[in-house]
């Protein structure tokens, strides 16, 4: 009896997502006379309930012979992902209003969310792999959601091939780890790590599989293409939720399972992070398409996050989770404006945004604040996020890395401010006309800007995350 209740409470967020999936499936099979408006409202309410429900009934524990584990930090991470999904659902309504496949969109989206939840909670490499695949296969279908657009199918093909290849690398790594340790359970693996050459090779393959998913630099080539080709809503999902979830798992795997390899992965992450920051920044400078620009800027942000991971302390893990929270607010704020403009006018280039302030002052302010937060300018939350990341890195003594990061922040400031300049100062003969903002995207933008302003100023948020974080 007690076991049954544990089973329900520990997996509460998974159950909630599964319930929403089933409700949507029944609607799909059932009546045909529902308007898109009704469905969108229903989905938004359900996702809001899912988000609120996540904050109740915290409980630590394990299920299914350590296959599924949960604790306060994991529940918090899942709540961040639910929040991001709710914001994306609000933003996508103006794009989905006239689409006849609304339900399919949400079915795919929530399947990936379910996969991410299982991946974050995984205590076993099999569970982890299944969660990862459940979260990446439907994403390929989502990136092809504009069925008649040439770019969309090209992006989807690139994504499915590169994600399948990266799963291949990851699987080879997992199989060699299984061969050298004899187990798939995380706790059993960390007891059997002995540092043999085959095991180190397997570990490097595992890290490259992860680096593919978070698009750290030698493995970033798919990112910009997939981001540009996919519909804007899906792009924001890629860059925030999908990346954030893999980062959370990366953190857990490195800090708990591969703790004995601390020195090895510190060196690997050093190289990855320097390359990621420099190349991401240099490529971001020369982009014209805003989605492509944000793709490279998100690659550069991953470099900063990797610095936080090299910290290898409780502060390191706390700063990464904190930064992902802030990053989702700021990136979703920027993508919210872009998806609104793209859905209503179809314009996505930086030139089109010249003199955007004259016609749409409110949207311009939201975009500007989000870009400031991404660049890390003090009053916004992005500054505090990057500050804690660099502090965690410096705490470990990686002063070279922190110096390179500080120099890169100057470069990134250049291209973020370039867009702000285009919006506020440049003139334009035919600017984007004044847009009517529908209610739900407006709510999403308000949530994002409030988050950007308040998450940094209220110190309680960081303390709360810190108190739950895993030590090293």
């Amino acid at each position: 009896m007690n076991m049954g209740i544990d089973f329900l409470i520990l997996m509460k967020q998974e159950w909630a997502v599964i319930a929403i999936l089933f409700i949507l499936l029944f609607i799909k099979v059932g009546s045909k006379d529902r308007t898109n408006e009704n469905i969108l409202n229903l989905v938004n309410v359900l996702l809001l309930l899912n988000l609120i429900g996540g904050f109740f009934g915290y409980k630590d524990g394990m299920l299914f012979n350590e296959m599924f584990k949960t604790n306060h930090l994991i529940v918090m991470e899942k709540n961040i992902l639910s929040l991001g999904t709710y914001i994306i659902a609000l933003q996508s309504s103006s794009w989905l209003k006239n689409n006849k496949h609304v339900l399919e969109f949400y079915l795919l989206l929530l399947s990936t969310l379910l996969g991410m939840f299982f991946m974050i909670s995984a205590g076993n490499l099999l569970m982890f792999f299944l969660g990862l695949e459940l979260s990446s296969i439907p994403l390929a279908a989502l990136s092809n959601f504009d069925l008649e657009k040439r770019k969309s199918s090209e992006a989807a093909f690139k994504f499915i091939i590169s994600s399948a290849f990266s799963s291949g690398l990851l699987l080879l790594g997992i199989s060699l780890i299984y061969g050298t340790t004899g187990s798939l359970n995380f706790s059993a693996i960390s007891e059997h790590l002995h540092g043999g050459p085959l095991q180190i090779f397997a570990f490097i393959l595992l890290i490259s599989g992860f680096a593919f998913k978070i698009s750290a630099v030698p493995f970033h080539l798919w990112t910009a293409d997939v981001y540009e080709g996919s519909p804007v809503t899906v792009t924001s999902y890629f860059s925030v939720i999908s990346k954030g979830s893999v980062l959370f798992v990366f953190l857990t795997v490195l800090y708990t399972v591969f703790k004995p390899y601390g020195v090895t992965w510190n060196n690997i992450l050093f190289v990855l992070s320097v390359l990621t920051m420099i190349i991401g920044n240099l490529f971001a400078i020369r982009q014209n398409n805003l989605k492509r620009f944000l793709a490279f800027s998100s690659v550069a942000q991953i470099g900063f996050i990797l610095i936080g991971i090299t910290g290898a302390t409780q502060a390191g893990s706390a700063s990464v989770v904190y930064f992902v929270l802030i990053y989702s607010f700021s990136n979703l704020g920027a993508f919210g404006v872009i998806s609104l403009v793209s859905a209503l006018t179809g314009k996505e280039n930086i030139e089109d945004y010249k003199a955007f302030y004259k016609t749409n002052p409110m949207l311009s302010w939201v975009l500007a604040v989000s870009l400031f937060s991404l660049a890390g300018i003090p009053p916004t939350a992005g500054f505090f996020g990057k500050f804690f990341l660099l502090m965690a890195g410096a705490g470990h003594g990686n002063y070279i890395l922190v110096t390179i990061a500080a120099l890169n922040m100057v470069v990134s400031l250049y291209y973020y401010l370039n867009i702000v300049k285009a919006i506020f100062m440049d003139s334009n003969e035919n600017p984007i006309k004044k847009l009517m903002i529908p209610a739900s995207p407006k709510l999403a933008l308000i949530i994002c800007s409030t988050g950007i302003v308040l998450t940094g100023v209220i110190g309680y948020v960081y303390d709360y995350i810190y108190s739950m974080s895993i030590g090293f």
Binding site: E133, N144, G168, Y178, S183
Partner: protein, 104 residues
């Protein structure tokens, strides 16, 4: 006749992995690239089953992993073929060189 040792099996699986990798990087036909990916995944399956049989025969972890990998590979192939069919409708070709609108 001698017993086949694990080294020989691992040699086969590693060869298969790199043949798949080579095929993925050199072939320009999308379906062939998909086949190369299947080779990679199947080489991993051989690894799992061999490790399970030779090194850890008391538990069935590796065999179960192999079954799940086969399932996932099937799902991945189904979705990739659907995407390729959709891409063929708009590009009239399944050569990757023709899908070249997204660059730099």
């Amino acid at each position: 006749m001698n017993e086949i040792s694990i080294t020989q099996i691992l040699f086969v699986s590693t060869a298969l992995f790199f043949i798949g990798m080579y095929g993925l990087f050199t072939r320009r036909n999308m379906i062939t690239m998909l086949m190369a990916i299947e080779l990679i995944l199947n080489s991993v399956n051989i690894n799992f089953v061999a490790f399970n049989k030779y090194l850890y025969p008391d538990k069935l972890d590796g065999v179960f992993f192999a079954i799940f990998v086969i399932t996932i590979a099937a799902a991945e192939a189904a979705l990739a073929i659907a995407i390729i069919i959709n891409l063929y409708r708009s590009h009239q070709s399944i050569d990757v060189e023709d899908a070249n609108e997204l660059k730099y």
